[in-house]
Each structure stands twice: as C-alpha cells, then as structure tokens.
C-alpha cells in the first residue's frame, strides 16, 4: 500500500492502494470513471486509453505507482473540452461511432495524436490510431473524422 497523489480530470486526488494496481481499475472502480473501458486487459485494444501528461497510455497495464504527480485525463474529463467538441462533431458528421465501445479510446488517441501533430496526413492518422481496435466501423469514417477535426479545429491543437 502506498499513498499516491495525482491530478485526475483537473482535480487533485489521493488514493491509498498498491502501486501495482492497474490504473484502469482505480479509474473505473474507485473514481467511477467508467467511460474508460476494458476490452482486453493486455494493452492491445486501446479501449482503456487515457491521457497521462497529454500522451495516450493504455490504463489496463499502467501500474498506479507510476502516475504519482502526473496529470491524468479520462474521456469524462476530456469531454468537457473544446477539442472534444470539435472531435465529437466530426465523429458524428462522419458516422464514426457504432457500438461505441472503442470510441472513448479512439477520441483519446485522436487527441494525443493531434497534440503531437495538429495536421496529420491519412497515413499519420492511421499510425496514430493503430493501437485502438474497432470491430464495427472498418476505421474508414474514424480516419475521415480525425482528418476533418484537424481542419475544423485549426489552431486548437
């Protein structure tokens, strides 16, 4: 057990847990951020993606102890931002959401990508989202949505 402090969706939080606990479990069970999904538990699908210091990680394999002092944003926190609004509109307009289980992770991956590269090419989008599996959409509309968000949200990233 250890006391671990970090920022979660813009709030300072502290929790006493084993440092090897999966960040995913802490977010879903202790903080009730169930927008973070578990699709595989093996780092492969990206459904559990969150941002740590603006970068995407898969929370199912992040040990809690490594987030000490860091800034974590889940889909719940991200959804309150202007950038999410731009991405959200683009995803809706392109039809990029089907069952929605991959969607929080896809949006986090898009945010992380646009953070690094505000004007990605199709190829760069594909690389940026390559760790997020979607079984419904065939990705086509997701790729288009990210592209369109990067245009419409010019200056935001």
């Amino acid at each position: 057990m250890a006391k671990i402090k970090f920022t979660l969706n813009n709030k300072q939080v502290e929790i006493e847990k084993s440092p090897t606990a999966r960040l995913l479990d802490i977010l879903r069970e202790d903080f009730d951020f169930t927008g973070v999904k578990e699709g595989c538990g093996e780092g492969e699908c990206g459904a559990c993606a969150v941002l740590i210091n603006d970068q995407i990680v898969n929370s199912c394999i992040v040990p809690l102890g490594t987030v000490e002092g860091k800034n974590i944003v889940t889909i719940e926190g991200f959804s309150k931002t202007k950038r999410h609004e731009v991405l959200r509109n683009a995803f809706e307009e392109e039809g990029a959401v089907q069952c929605g289980f991959c969607t929080p992770g896809m949006l986090i991956a898009s945010e992380s990508l646009l953070n690094k590269n505000p004007h990605p090419t199709d190829e760069e989008i594909k690389i940026g989202l390559s760790g997020n599996l979607c079984r419904c959409t065939g990705y086509n509309m997701i790729i288009k949505a990210v592209k369109s968000a990067s245009k419409k949200g010019d200056g935001l990233w």
């Binding site: 538990g41 093996e42 993606a49 970068q55 102890g65 000490e68």
Partner: protein, 278 residues
C-alpha cells in the same frame, strides 16, 4: 507484499541489495505476464520496485563517440529524439502502438529478453553495451552476453540496467524489417536488421541479425567477417553460398504466430534482399 516506488537510483540499489525484488519499468510486459482478474492486483511472485520515474535513468547523451541511453527512456521519447540512431528509430517506429510506446522502455525491451523484442536485433548489430549497476559495482556487458535465452539474462538480482551504450559508427546502408501478423501493433514473426559500409565497391563493414528465429537474436560475427573485403559484386555472385551459411544458424520453431518453414525462408529472403540492395 512490499511494492515500492523508490525516489532515487541510490535508494533503488540499496533496496535491490537488501531484498528480492522484481524491477518494473513501463510494465508493458510485466503487467500483462502477471495479469489477473479485473480489479484484482496483478499476481507477481516477487515484490516490485517501480523504476519508471527515476530521474537518473531518463537521459540520452552523446559522449566520447558513444551514445548513452538511460534505461527508462520510453520508446516514444526515443522515437522523437534527434540523437537516436536512425536504425533504432526504424525499429521503434513499427513497435507496438503509441500508447504502448509511451510506457515501454528500452531497458524493459532488453530486460524482457524476448527473441521477438524488436529493438534487440538493432542493438546487437550496433554493438550495444549494456551498463549494469549494483550497490557494489558498475559493469558493462555486450548485449549478446546479457541475453542468453528467452527471458534469461546474466544479470544478478541486486543489479539494474542503467544504460545502453551505443558506439557511433557510419554506415552506407541500414535496414530494419519487421514481419508481423499485420501492419501495426503486432509481435514479430521474424525481424531482420542489417548495416553495411561500402567504400569503393568494397565491403568494409557488414552486420546482420535476425529476431524471432531462435531462442535469442541470431548474429554471427564470423560469417560477417568472411564477407569483409569482398567487392559488392563478388558478394552478389556468391550470394547463394552466403545465404546458405547464414541459413545454417537460423533454426526457428513453430508457434501460434507462424511456422518454422516460413520463418526460415523469409529470414533468408530478407538477408538476400538486403545484400542485393547494397
């Protein structure tokens, strides 16, 4: 369980010296290998030391013609760093996914000692030296002497991988090929790394290595030495013989990802394609 998050390297070394700990860096191998039912703790059979955030292990510097990479540098940090050798960048580019690369460390890829670890073929042919530290001493080992089998390393339980040293060299050709089950985010069925220096149509340096075709990365310095001094044309004329010689050392296995015939054939094809590109 005493799972600890030491704040300094010194503290880490002291702990390592006193107890029996497993070092956990990014956790992208360990957290999965030990995963358990959701919302229960991963089932480690040892106490854990989290070293991911140790400031003393996060650096990349160029000194004395040698690149020094701190062991907890993440793959993503290395991918975007201007000092990272181009060949290593080539390998990292097609490793895992951005989310994994943000956590996965270079030290962890070595520490995991998987024959499919994608940085390894590159580190082998760049003659990387692994710097290992304990409370008592610092020692240096060529990477091929550190990794001796799948998951097996000649590293003591009180030691930590501190850094990876890569001597700077110049090549006229570099190549990294990864053959995975798909275009992105896949474990290698075979990987190949090659570097060469050709001057006046003569081979001055030639190194190749293969991943996932044996218990460890396959590199054969003797065979490499045999081609040094040959002209590129000679090499191409004798290519079949060279391929056969290397082929003798490639003894892959069947597993869920591929089969031995495929692995062997493609490993040789990749070598051939590299030689023909010189």
């Amino acid at each position: 369980m005493k799972n600890l998050t030491p704040k300094t390297l010194k503290e880490t070394l002291i702990l390592l010296n006193e107890g029996d700990y497993k070092i956990l860096a990014g956790g992208t191998d360990l957290m999965i290998q030990n995963r358990a039912w959701s919302n229960t703790l991963p089932k480690f059979n040892k106490d854990i030391l989290l070293v991911f955030n140790l400031p003393e292990l996060k650096y990349i510097t160029l000194e004395d013609d040698c690149l020094h990479i701190g062991s907890t540098m993440t793959l993503e940090e290395l991918l975007y760093h201007k000092l990272t050798p181009k060949l290593l960048v080539e390998a990292i580019k097609i490793m895992a996914s951005p989310a994994i690369r943000n956590m996965a460390t270079l030290g962890g890829n070595i520490g995991n000692a998987s024959p499919a670890g994608d940085s390894l073929p590159v580190l082998y042919i760049l003659n990387a030296i692994v710097v290992i530290e304990s409370i008592e001493r610092t020692r240096e080992l060529p990477i091929e002497d550190l990794i001796i089998g799948p998951g097996k390393k000649t590293i003591q339980k009180n030691e930590i991988i501190k850094e990876i040293k890569i001597p700077m060299s110049n090549f006229t050709s570099i190549r990294f090929d990864k053959v995975g089950g798909r275009k992105a985010d896949a474990i290698s069925k075979i990987s190949f790394a090659g570097v060469a220096k050709v001057k006046n149509n003569t081979i001055q340096d030639f190194r190749v290595s293969f991943g996932a075709v044996g218990p460890t990365v396959v590199r054969n310095k003797e065979l490499e030495a045999n081609v040094i001094g040959l002209t590129v044309d000679d090499m191409k004329v004798n290519i079949q013989e060279i391929l056969n010689e290397f082929g003798n050392f490639i003894r892959p296995i069947d597993d869920q990802r591929s089969n031995k015939e495929y692995r062997k054939t493609v490993a040789i094809n990749l070598l051939k394609s590299f030689i023909l590109s010189l």
